[in-house]
Symmetry: C2
Subunit: 384 residues, 2 copies
């Protein structure tokens, strides 16, 4: 039997308890039973988002949540800042431009993160900019951006701060309210250990003011409709019922563990993976000052074809990791640290990675990656 | 143990084989394994849609598929016909108006269906109308509209014909190509026996021409992006993976049965339910010439509070039916005939309906509804 280990940064492995909930007979959404779940889910999301703001659910993938953020805030001709340091930063630009928003694009070399001062400079130069769109963890590169510092800059301006936290929420710290983030967009299939199909967005009072002035045509993603429906503990349109029910269980698990221990847990997985990469003589792609604990992008030796490596790991050994996207296509592999992944899962993944690297002709002391990770994980976890 | 019987017109009961697929570990969507499923699903959908047109999948509820139809076809200021004879017809108007489309609204009394000649008259008077939006089965009233006749009228004009087949597809006949329907929008949680969260749309060459001229800002629902991604057997954005996998099984079941026997099966369920209503001295809401086989809306005796009846059936006896919406609130109950529902399920539903009617003081010969349905179902099904 070939195993089937999913180490991709979304969808990520679903715990068996949640699988079993997803396989239960469905219930109707306009029932007190489901309304109670919706309430529980929204309360739980507020805990994970670390916010008192409204949080809305949409039957959509993460991009739907991102589009909702743009089309509810900005009208054609409005100005916004986007930051491109990877594929998902580029998506903010694409969405803004699809809606006729004038984008001031800050380009960052892939593997680096934007600095708050770069944002400040642009905002200082043009007071008419209405929104700043940032990617918390850039899943294509494994870079984390310092949202706290950017929040400090944006909060004193007229602009709202919108963060794509699709891959980061519930994995690394994101203090929505304390860090002055106006909209956080996320989705079900990363930190929340669920199938894709449910997007979330938190909306601050400052964002609501801008929403009130926005002329972009919208219906399905209209936050005003979501707010109105929530008055009756309802969603504006039929929700992704089974994922909402599964989410009650994910949130219970996350609450039980607590946010700080959860973030420490993933930080440890990430560190163990970085230690293994180093032992294999390989570099982690991002610069040290912005390396993410959400996923680790490892740079492959120049002679290794990354697409073939990913394919072999998956089709020969049943371990699915992600390859590179865009300019990193074929050049990196990406291991996720999210959801219910364990040290054991990552060691298995590294062992398989080593095996295929060897088969493809890269030479290194056999077992050195696994050994380094094991040694790292033998250290007791630091109490939080 | 209280049973949990779902007789609502979406979400509808999920077969246990599909439940068990939905509870399996998830796989990644950018794999040959999932691509093969996507291909199979699109081929299967073309069979059920009875079309050679493109069919696209979106992670969204049915309304997302409806919005996609509007925002890809029409620009602000364009003209369209909508038909309002229930809540879902009104939704076409709402979506069109949200996108600045000038709507010529044909109002039809609830319980009746629009006639092709009414559409023709409006199209003849104004040659600049670009689209006609119709509801195939109006789920709020249980009315079916004659799409074939409307297709005959619209095909000779510049306008495209768009049909909301969210509740009807796979339940009653809809010959997309033969009847000249340009866009059919549907979703996973009615005839396809799956959780909500996946929308579908078929797009004709005539629709593609109009799409090419459309200026409405769009991104997530952009059919051009869906078409481009499909070139690589991919979806534009992360699909609702688990529902797509479940759909492979629904489509197998539907293909195995064949469309004509499938439609005959639901027609029989619907007829049995209508016979039971009559035996209880109750009327079916729609006029005879447009009564739907997708669901049956039964008019309650004037003294019965429909909301209380639905609540009692659900909370006391575990049978969930739908109440009335909009102007029918509290006045009807709605029984679905779709997906994997059986004669036995409907007889159980009718028995529970009788029990609660009696408890609420409506007098009729006890058991007469169940008896009439049983007698009807004893007749051999007519071979198709």
């Amino acid at each position: 039997m070939k195993e089937n280990l999913l180490l991709t940064p979304g969808p990520t492995k679903i715990p068996s308890e949640i699988c079993s909930i997803l396989g239960q007979p469905i219930i109707h959404h306009r029932t007190p039973q489901f309304q109670a779940m919706l309430k529980e889910v929204v309360e739980g999301l507020k805990y994970v988002f670390q916010t008192q703001n409204d949080v809305y659910l949409m039957a959509a993938s993460g991009t739907g949540g991102m589009e909702a953020s743009v089309c509810n805030l900005l009208s054609a001709g409005d100005k916004a800042i986007t930051v491109e340091g990877g594929k998902f930063g580029e998506r903010w630009t694409e969405i803004c431009q699809a809606f006729g928003v004038q984008t001031h694009v800050i380009k960052v070399e892939w593997g680096q993160s934007v600095q708050a001062q770069q944002i400040k400079k642009v905002l200082d130069q043009d007071k008419t900019i209405k929104a700043v769109f940032i990617t918390h963890c850039e899943t294509s590169t494994g870079v984390t951006t310092d949202i706290k510092a950017i929040g400090q800059v944006v909060k004193n301006t007229n602009a709202v701060l919108v963060v794509d936290a699709v891959s980061s929420l519930g994995v690394i710290d994101l203090k929505t309210d304390e860090w002055n983030v106006d909209i956080v967009a996320s989705a079900s299939h990363k930190g929340f250990m669920l199938p894709p199909g449910l997007a979330f967005a938190s909306v601050s009072p400052k964002a609501w003011k801008l929403i009130g002035t926005c002329k972009t045509p919208r219906y399905y993603f209209d936050f005003r409709k979501a707010k109105e429906a929530w008055g009756d503990t309802d969603t504006a349109f039929t929700p992704a019922i089974s994922i909402v029910i599964g989410l009650t269980e994910s949130l219970k698990r996350m609450k039980k563990m607590g946010l700080e221990p959860l973030f420490a847990y993933f930080a440890r997985l990430a560190q163990g993976t970085r230690v293994a990469a180093k032992a294999l003589g390989l570099k982690v792609f991002p610069q040290d000052n912005c390396v993410s604990n959400v996923l680790t992008a490892i740079v492959l030796p120049a002679q290794i074809d990354g697409n073939k490596l990913v394919k072999t790991m998956r089709d020969k050994y049943g371990v699915t990791v992600a390859g590179g996207q865009g300019q990193l296509k074929g050049k990196v592999v990406r291991f996720a640290h999210m959801g219910c992944l364990t040290e054991k899962d990552l060691i298995e993944g590294i062992a398989c990675f080593e095996k295929v690297l060897q088969e493809m002709g890269y030479s290194f002391p056999a077992g050195s990656g696994v050994q380094a990770a094991q040694k790292f994980f033998e250290q007791p976890a630091v109490a939080v």
